[in-house]
Symmetry: C2
Subunit: 343 residues, 2 copies
């Protein structure tokens, strides 16, 4: 046996990776036959298929991705376009885990395509389209009228979005029911005797801002509560949120209930409330979304609604694959309901 040194850079060849040629040689068949046998083509004999499959399994044959990709154009890649800007609580990782979970059972690899949401959001999508580097794309931070959706739709690239759009294009998506969340949040606060309610809302250009607003307004109307305006969003820095809330609490318009669209925001809001000398559960109540159950640990008084990002990841992964397989987009749209704490 020859002793190879492992040194800088080069990968040592595995004990020679098997190709179709290897199997062809071992079975005495042609390369084409082997290829077709492994795809279960109708013009290959049953016994031959069996033999080929046995040898392939035995050798641990895995098709060479570069070969397939070059010949067929199929990349076997799903691209996840991610904003790499600051994120306080890492819900992104849960989504990545969910997608990974689904892709693990398939031939697809997950490629992270980063971008900064201060830059042109079309850049990463255009890159993927122009270089043909993925069979399907998942995007988040969806806007009501999203140019990325427009572009991918137009170019026929299968994709799924985290969050709906509102542009007359039917496409796969998964969304959290922010409308129900906000509406029910108001209801829960009113049930606790609260009537003057503030909302820490999502950034205005994202789609779920709209749903949150609609739900909130509906809730106010339906359960007869009043809105107390809060000049901050979940994209505002925590320090600013805290200061704004503190000032609001000290003002004559202080709310007695508050709805928070993010858990990081909820923490800052709570800090503002306490800085003003008030206490959750006593002077004021809060309903907040959370992706992990930290909030409940921090302040059990917070009514914490769970948004399951791992589930969202799974749904998005499944949807984009199904879309690649030609399933109609209308069948690949799902909305998950807020999960309320027991009792």
């Amino acid at each position: 046996m020859d002793n190879k040194k492992t040194s800088g850079g080069g990968i040592q060849p595995s004990p020679e990776r098997p190709t179709l040629k290897t199997i062809a040689f071992m079975t005495g068949l042609g390369i084409t036959t082997v290829s077709r046998a492994l795809k279960d083509a109708p013009d290959i004999g049953a016994e031959t298929k069996e033999r080929v499959r046995m040898v392939a399994r035995q050798l641990g044959y895995q098709p060479n991705r570069a070969g397939v990709r070059l010949r067929t154009g199929k990349t076997n890649v799903i691209a996840l376009v991610l904003s790499i800007d600051e994120e306080i609580m890492g819900f992104t990782s849960h989504m990545v885990f969910g997608i990974s979970e689904v892709l693990a059972g398939t031939q697809y690899h997950l490629v992270i395509t980063p971008h900064s949401h201060s830059k042109d959001p079309l850049v990463p999508v255009r890159y993927i389209l122009d270089t043909g580097s993925a069979d399907g794309v998942i995007i988040s931070r969806t806007e009501p009228d999203d140019p990325r959706v427009e572009l991918m739709h137009q170019r026929g690239m299968p994709f799924a979005t985290h969050g709906r759009t509102n542009m007359g294009i039917s496409h796969p998506f998964h969304d959290f029911d922010n409308e129900a969340f906000a509406r029910e949040a108001v209801r829960a606060l009113v049930a606790k005797g609260r009537r003057r309610i503030a909302l820490l809302q999502p950034p205005g250009k994202l789609n779920y801002y709209l749903h949150t607003q609609i739900g909130f307004q509906t809730g106010l109307r339906e359960y007869q509560a009043q809105e107390v305006p809060l000049r901050a969003s979940t994209d505002t820095t925590l320090a600013e949120i805290k200061d704004t809330v503190e000032a609001l609490m000290r003002s004559p318009h202080a709310p007695d209930g508050i709805v928070c669209s993010s858990s990081a925001g909820a923490i800052a809001v709570n800090a503002g409330i306490e800085a003003a000398g008030f206490h959750l559960g006593h002077d004021i109540d809060m309903v907040a979304k959370q992706s992990t159950d930290v909030l409940s640990w921090i302040r059990p008084e917070i009514i914490a609604i769970h948004e399951d990002f791992r589930h969202a990841g799974r749904e998005l992964g499944k949807a984009v694959i199904a879309r690649i397989d030609g399933i109609e987009p209308e069948l690949l749209q799902s909305i998950s309901s807020p999960i309320w704490p027991k009792g």
Copy 2:
């Protein structure tokens, strides 16, 4: 044999994505010449190179990855092996963002290779090696004697680890100085007059458990404090941590200081302390690591040390690329120091 079309003759420019052939046609050169010109090979004329580069830029030429990969074996992929098991605070995403940031300026794509840390950790690494699906690998949750490191080293696969190993193999890594963290944490607690100190430690099989332990023990000795044993680790569920801490606080051996190796753990520890009727900053002090500044928002009394995972991601990305380029591993090892709050 048939006369094939040659570069001088009848090649039609593709209306699709440009290839070397397109550029060859437009410049009137051979495909090989174009390829070599774009690589700045020494045997191509300066003026020719200039012309080729101009046309390539103009067409927005990007080499076809499948072509390169098939011919050269170079994948231009960095694989990040990630545990997809529950993670409370999402530090993983920060690491992903850091790596992405570095790779964005290169030809490398980032592929997420998931695995469950309850399963054999070698599976994803073996898959990458056997299918040759990456040029470099980044792994986390490094163990003192890590079989993945052993395997990749042996097969000559460039890699970088988050966390050191202790197995006589020199390889790129980035690590947080957990020893300094634990030692200084004890010091900070002693400075506050605390003497009976407990440690919420990392899971025993991971490498940084050792460093944390050494630092902690050194601190105890150096600053004359006593260890109060705590039967839990950061991998224990939050509910269990809380119960354990609560019981400990009620016992005659209650600590008056505690060091936490994770922020999620710190939240549970705090819950336990409060459940037992004690208060941070009054009866007991806590030093804890955090990857985002949530802890400080939740309980400003917690002395929160910042561990920068985005920075770690950047370092790991740079290290693995440098290793692929043949830089010696000894030059690709970095340790980042705990960042203490001001004052």
